[in-house]
């Protein structure tokens, strides 16, 4: 195979060649490759283009932190942008770089580079104002944005979520994480260990360090095998912890093994304790033209060589300010790669570190300050850090190591403190937390021995917290490596014309940072927002600290004082599809009553009626329009017999010594005087005096009431009552049981209702004397145990026949069959609405809009003046002292009797009024008047009865006369009949 694949080594399977397409070209790699290693392996260096200037870019890292090469997959796996370093190679994979058209190597937009001087950070705030931004916006939007928008939804199966509970979650299976896992596993705790890589071992996978006398990766394998065999341990590969939520709910995203249809699995893990062992990420150093393909993180150069047998180049130079690259150099030499030089900004490096890189030229106290090469790196320019003559070194790879950034994202998400460590020149967790411990690299442990020791101690501490005893465990002896660092953020004075990038993905340069500061944006959060540094897909893992370093340098401030921006979830981008599987109205099924199938068989148009109840709206017959249908149904109720399904009204059974008094407290009117088996309409307010609900309650005995509420408010009312009882009046003896779905009803209404009920058959005496309006009777109807109530929402004589839910279908069928001679007509909620408007009965959703009170609704009678106190009384009294004119319920008859569609329209006195005097709360076609009738809330409305008002139906004023808010049977003789 061509390209840069080394003849031996690596963890790839050389027997399995995989072909893939990248930017339209066919390449091949091996099983075990990532897209990035395969691209490098086939010698492709210019892999992508940059965001703003379209400069050639290559692959920079070997992991999750990739700040340069992001791709989008096409075909079935299409899923927005992914770092190439995280895409496992599969046969037939097709991917494109998110930048570069038609391809990364021939990018037509590269001419934008010419305009670069005009596009410093935040340039858009200063331009595009003339003639206006909206002229430019569409073009800018097309240029910005990465992957194309997804078009097709995935199968739900492909994105799954799981829930998990464990005693200990260990994030990161490097040396520290594995050591900790070993301890807690042995102690017998339930353990979940996750790692973002395909294999456990973390930094050991490509390092030659030895542990307990064996190679590090061998030790890791041993521990992993042991963990895998333990029944109390579960291991997850390819899994990133992306958020730490309230009460240690840790969110994971698991990438499945290649070839599996599942694209991503989200895990919600409730861990009693979390050990954060997520390691650290190397960061680059900033200097002019530090973005050419071939400029990488030093550790990535090694990772590609050791893990994937890919030589990123033939001539490698390292640039550093710390000790780690010397070991890197040795490891590369050990597998036969040549290191052409190490440029180190420090004056002195300890002897044993230097000897690691024996055979390599080391340029101490030098810095790389510029690079050459058009489509890839060809050489670097170096000079003494104190100034002086520069020299050139030819190379095709420059490995950078500016230090190591602990992966503190999760730590910081938990609002735990971090501090700047001078000796490590980076941010590290500060202290321990109750349910999260950081160990190893992500806690700033740079020594292998230290990392393992921290892991063991954390494990032991947790075991102790769980009250478990441990056998003494001696840490294995490890190779030790010194680590010292001298903070160095960027080379001195990068020349003005050249670009030194601090954030590769967003093309943010050092000059942009300086510009931000000189314009006064020197707070670190300002710098970030002004330049957008750190806000790209890589979330600034490699770049953020360099930004802070650059700011500190520029301001001559201590970097510890510059501070950091907060880390926000997620730590890596996560698919939405695995989320949101709980909650959301859309997922909750409808509630229906037991006779829903009958409604549907009668062609009912079903509506949502609040609280997820689905009810019939109307029942059109052979080609009727909705209007015709509703008129027919309404006429049936007014002149014959109708039936409706009133089940969903909230119903509560209240019982206990203090029930009557309690109702006096929660309703505005008096209930304690109610006789047994009689009912009363009640209005319930909040303590703010606003109407909460209304409904009829019946007294079933001295201490027992049956309360009904509106369908949509049942839960609110229940909470209100329960809170009063639990918190405010705990000594009251009242028990509340919701019975909404236990009893369902068929309500028959209309002038023939009494005859009909007799026909249906009941042992209840139906005479008006024995069973008056607002009474309830227990007995049998059609042979079924029933509670029959005389309430009326229609203004007609009606009987609400309540039976246990399981009997409703039987009752219903019986009623329909036995009432054929009355031409019994099922009516839906549309008709109910017409009937109640004709009667002027108020409805919460229409007439009550958060401002009116009972007086406004003409129901002042319901506000008891006898009671000392009831909920809302005081507030209504206070509100009534306001000079603001009250809006009162009135009837409205439009001059044009055909004008019906005026609901919601404001009421005004003149077409040019600047303020409304009220609005139309409901408007319907009345069957009794054969014209439109409406209700409205109107300022001083009661005084204006007999006068007129304008209905402002969107620039079209319609004159209406103001009437009493009742268009039918004002004295209620029909419903009492």
């Amino acid at each position: 195979m061509s390209g840069s694949r080394l003849p031996t080594g690596g963890k790839i399977d050389r027997d399995r060649t995989l072909a893939f397409q990248y930017n339209g070209q066919t390449h091949s790699g091996f099983a075990g490759d990532t897209l990035a290693s395969a691209l490098l392996g086939s010698g492709l260096r210019l892999a992508t283009r940059s965001y703003k200037y379209h400069r050639p870019r290559g692959i920079v890292s070997s992991g999750i932190e990739e700040p340069s090469c992001h791709v989008h997959l096409t075909g079935d796996n299409a899923s927005g942008s992914e770092p190439a370093t995280r895409v496992e190679l599969t046969d037939g994979l097709t991917a494109r770089s998110v930048r570069g058209w038609p391809s990364a190597s021939l990018d037509l937009a590269a001419c934008l580079q010419l305009a670069a001087p005009l596009m410093p950070a935040a340039f858009y705030y200063k331009t595009f104002q003339w003639p206006n931004w909206q002229l430019f916006e569409p073009t800018i939007r097309k240029l910005a944005g990465l992957a194309p928008a997804p078009v097709e939804a995935r199968q739900l199966d492909d994105l799954k979520a799981r829930n998990w509970h464990c005693d200990v979650l260990i994030v990161g299976a490097g040396p520290a994480g594995l050591a900790a896992a070993q301890v807690v596993a042995e102690a017998g705790l339930d353990v979940l260990v996750v790692d973002q890589e395909t294999e456990f071992g973390g930094s050991l996978l490509s390092s030659s360090q030895r542990i307990g006398g064996v190679a590090g990766h061998v030790w890791a394998k041993g521990v992993t095998d042991m963990l895998a065999a333990a029944r109390n341990v579960r291991l997850l590969h390819r899994t990133v912890a992306w958020a730490c939520r309230e009460h240690n709910l840790i969110m994971l995203a698991e990438h499945p093994v290649p070839g599996c249809r599942v694209q991503q699995r989200v895990w919600r893990v409730r861990a009693r304790t979390t050990i954060l062992a997520a390691g650290s990420h190397e960061r680059p150093i900033v200097f002019a033209n530090n973005d050419r393909p071939g400029i990488m993180l030093a550790s990535a150069v090694r990772d590609y060589a050791v893990r994937y047998a890919v030589a990123a180049g033939r001539q490698i130079v390292f640039f550093t300010n710390n000790d780690s690259v010397y070991h890197c150099a040795r490891e590369l030499q050990e597998i036969g790669m040549k290191v052409a030089g190490i440029v180190d900004v420090r004056w002195a490096v300890s002897h044993d570190v230097l000897t690691q890189a024996r055979g390599t030229t080391v340029h101490l106290a030098h810095e790389v300050f510029d690079t050459r090469g058009r489509r890839g790196l060809a050489g670097v320019r170096i000079r003494p850090v104190t100034g002086g003559r520069s020299t050139r070194i030819s190379c095709d790879v420059l490995g950078l190591s500016g230090g190591w950034n602990p992966a503190i994202q999760l730590w910081s998400q938990c609002r735990l403190p971090v501090r700047y460590s001078d000796s490590l020149a980076t941010l590290v967790p500060d202290g321990k937390a109750a349910d999260m411990l950081a160990v190893g690299g992500c806690n700033g442990a740079m020594q292998l021995q230290e990392a393992i020791q921290e892991g063991i101690s954390a494990g032991a501490e947790i075991a102790r917290r769980f009250g478990l005893s441990l056998k003494q465990m001696d840490p294995p002896v490890c190779d030790s490596r010194r680590f010292t660092i001298q903070p160095y953020w960027h080379s001195r004075n990068p020349s003005k014309a050249d670009k030194a990038f601090v954030d590769l993905l967003h093309d943010v340069t050092l000059r942009d940072i300086h510009l931000a500061i000189s314009e006064g944006f020197s707070e670190i959060e300002h710098v970030k927002r002004y330049t957008t540094a750190g806000m790209a897909l890589d979330q600034g893992r490699t770049g953020n600290l360099n930004v802070a370093g650059a700011v500190a340098t520029r301001l001559g401030k201590d970097i510890a004082k510059v501070g950091t921006t907060t880390f926000r979830p997620p730590t890596v981008p996560v698919h939405f599809a695995g989320l949101g599987q709980f909650g959301g109205l859309g997922q909750l099924p409808y509630r229906t009553t037991p006779v829903a199938p009958w409604h549907i068989s009668q062609n009912a148009v079903m509506y949502e009626a609040g609280a997820r109840w689905r009810r019939p709206g109307y029942y059109p017959r052979n080609g009727e329009s909705m209007h015709e249908c509703v008129c027919r149904e309404a006429n049936a109720v007014r002149n014959g017999l109708g039936i409706y399904d009133g089940g969903p009204l909230g119903t509560f059974d209240l019982n206990g010594r203090d029930t009557a008094g309690f109702l006096d407290l929660v309703y505005t009117n008096v209930f304690s005087t109610l006789e047994d088996y009689r009912g009363r309409y009640g209005l319930m307010l909040g303590d703010d005096g606003l109407i909460l609900d209304d409904g009829v309650s019946f007294r079933l005995g001295r201490d027992r009431f049956l309360m009904s509420t509106s369908t949509a408010n049942a839960q609110t009312v229940q909470r209100h009552l329960e809170r009063l009882l639990a918190v405010d009046y705990p000594s009251l003896d009242v028990k509340i049981v919701e019975v909404t779905s236990m009893w369902m009803n068929a309500t028959i209404c209309g002038p023939f209702a009494r005859e009909a009920l007799e026909e249906i058959g009941t042992d209840i005496d139906l005479s008006n004397n024995a069973f008056p309006f607002m009474a309830i009777r227990f007995g049998r109807v059609a042979g079924i145990e029933a509670r029959v109530a005389r309430v009326s929402f229609t203004g007609e004589l009606s009987y609400e026949i309540n039976v246990r839910s399981r009997h409703l279908a039987k009752l219903w069928n019986h009623v329909i069959e036995s009432c054929r001679r009355f031409d019994i007509t099922p009516v839906g909620s549309e008709t109910n609405h017409v009937l109640r408007v004709e009667k002027g009965f108020m409805s919460l959703g229409h007439e009550v809009d958060g401002t009116v009170d009972a007086h406004d609704l003409g129901m002042g009678w319901i506000m008891s003046s006898k009671k000392q106190d009831y909920i809302g009384k005081r507030a209504v009294m206070i509100r009534r002292q306001s000079p603001r004119p009250r809006r009162q319920l009135v009837g409205l008859l439009t001059k044009d009797p055909e004008a019906v569609d005026i609901e919601g329209a404001p009421l005004v006195d003149s077409p040019v009024d600047e303020r409304s005097r009220g609005f139309v709360t409901a408007s319907v076609w009345s069957v009794v008047h054969n014209r439109s009738v409406a209700l409205g809330l109107l300022e001083d409305g009661r005084r204006r009865i007999g006068g007129s008002v304008l209905v402002r139906e969107c620039s079209n004023p319609i004159e209406a006369s103001v009437t009493q808010p009742c268009f039918y049977d004002p004295d209620g003789s029909r419903l009492r009949s």
């Binding site: 858009y124 944005g145 992957a147 919600r268 707070e523 698919h575 509100r879 600047e914």
Partner: protein, 418 residues
């Protein structure tokens, strides 16, 4: 105004000098011990108030005190929906004016705020919601703000990615409402542009200067504020501290009818243009628009409990995501890039408060749970009140006195979008 003119030509000229000649957008000062007016909070409202005080009312010797950095509060955390589809006569003219002012602001402040009149479309799925929105439509028409009903097929034509909630599903779409005046713009730019313009008029902006308590003199008047630099005196102090109003007012013994709550938002990875309008789904509780950079910026229902964590609870987050995916199933392939939260305050009726308080000389602008859109008009009205002692016509109802008679201007809980 004493500031650099920003234009394409300034950029071109500065390109030659490597952009070194631009002056700071606002300057740094040593705080003085006394000012005429102190504004606490350099969020949108505080900065706009300072700017209008100086530019419209000739205010001098004004300082803005900010505990963090300019524009680091909610103004930097919101979802930038600028709209005026409110319900009441008292609210609509105010918000409509604010929306119009936003349209002119880039020019006035010489800063590209990326103001874009995108239009908002409400996706309506239940009839009570439709009834409520149509009521808004009819009253908004009176006040010159536009709202219009469109058919389901028109909704789908205008938002092609809307492939969910079809006929026969659990909550099918029944209509759409179009609010043409709605716009989006850049939140950071708004804060910075006001800060820059205010600075050029002599307003001093002090960052990292937390007001730890208010100082009231023996006559019950405000006399200044406590900071880490000691007491800073002023005869007039205005609180524009959003979710912190309740606690800060407490330090002057003042109880305000405000409740602080948590609201969150999140963005997807950037993608090529997929929606051109602001989409609001009131029945499922989510809304979003696409930024110029390509990210979808998504918001949802607030978390009922108080939280200063500036993050999002998993169940609240998943509730919003599930609503979004109901309507836009293909967005399941997109990835969440970043999420955050802010803390806001809300009055019992959901309407704002722009008023003086019972402590003489102490003013407050608060109750801005959806107050980004209100920044221009809110700033102007408070500035007028501070400068002249008289309420601006547009804000004359937003008083504290209304609570003495429980005279609510009910706007609470009426839409998702904030």
């Amino acid at each position: 105004m004493n500031m650099d003119r920003y234009s394409f030509w300034t950029l071109a000229r500065n390109a030659v000098s490597g952009h070194r000649k631009l002056r700071p957008a606002w300057r740094r000062h040593q705080p003085k011990s006394k000012y005429d007016v102190l504004i606490v909070g350099a969020g949108g409202h505080g900065l706009a108030t300072a700017y209008y005080l100086a530019s419209r009312f000739g205010g001098r010797n004004i300082a803005v005190l900010e505990r963090g950095w300019v524009g680091g509060g909610n103004v930097a955390r919101n979802t930038v929906t600028v709209r005026s589809n409110y319900l009441r006569d008292e609210s609509i003219p105010f918000f409509a004016r604010s929306v119009r002012m936003f349209g002119e602001l880039s020019r006035e402040l010489n800063y590209n705020l990326m103001h874009s009149r995108r239009t908002m479309i409400d996706i309506v799925q239940t009839s009570p919601k439709l009834r409520e929105l149509k009521r808004r439509m009819k009253i908004m028409d009176m006040h010159g703000s536009s709202y219009e009903e469109i058919s389901v097929s028109e909704v789908r034509r205008r938002i092609p990615a809307l492939t969910g909630a079809r006929e026969g599903s659990r909550l099918p779409i029944i209509a759409g409402m179009v609010h043409k005046d709605a716009a989006v713009n850049r939140h950071d730019a708004v804060a910075w542009a006001y800060a820059r313009a205010a600075d050029s008029l002599g307003v001093e902006i002090h960052q990292n200067t937390e007001v730890t308590s208010l100082v009231v003199d023996s006559s019950g008047r405000i006399s200044g504020v406590e900071t880490k630099f000691g007491t800073i005196s002023a005869r007039k102090v205005a609180l524009a501290v959003s979710g912190h109003t309740f606690m800060l007012a407490r330090t002057a013994g003042l109880g305000l009818p405000l409740r602080t709550f948590n609201l969150t938002a999140f963005v997807s990875e950037p993608i090529k243009p997929v929606v051109d309008v602001v989409v609001n789904c009131p029945d499922l509780g989510c809304y979003f628009s696409q930024t110029a950079r390509g990210e979808l910026i998504i918001g949802g229902h607030p978390d009922p409990g108080l939280s200063y964590r500036r993050d999002i609870k998993q169940n609240v987050f998943e509730g919003t995501v599930s609503g979004l995916l109901e309507l836009f199933p293909s967005f399941g392939r997109l990835k969440l890039l970043r999420q955050w939260g802010g803390h806001l305050d809300i009055a019992p009726d959901g309407s704002p408060i722009i008023d003086r308080t019972s402590v003489g000389g102490l003013f407050v602008t608060a109750g801005w749970w959806g107050g980004y859109k209100a920044i221009p008009a809110g700033g102007l009205c408070l500035a007028k009140l501070i400068a002249t002692g008289e309420h601006h016509r547009l804000a004359s109802s937003f008083t504290l006195a209304r609570f003495d008679r429980l005279d609510y201007i009910m706007e609470a809980g009426t839409t998702t979008v904030v």
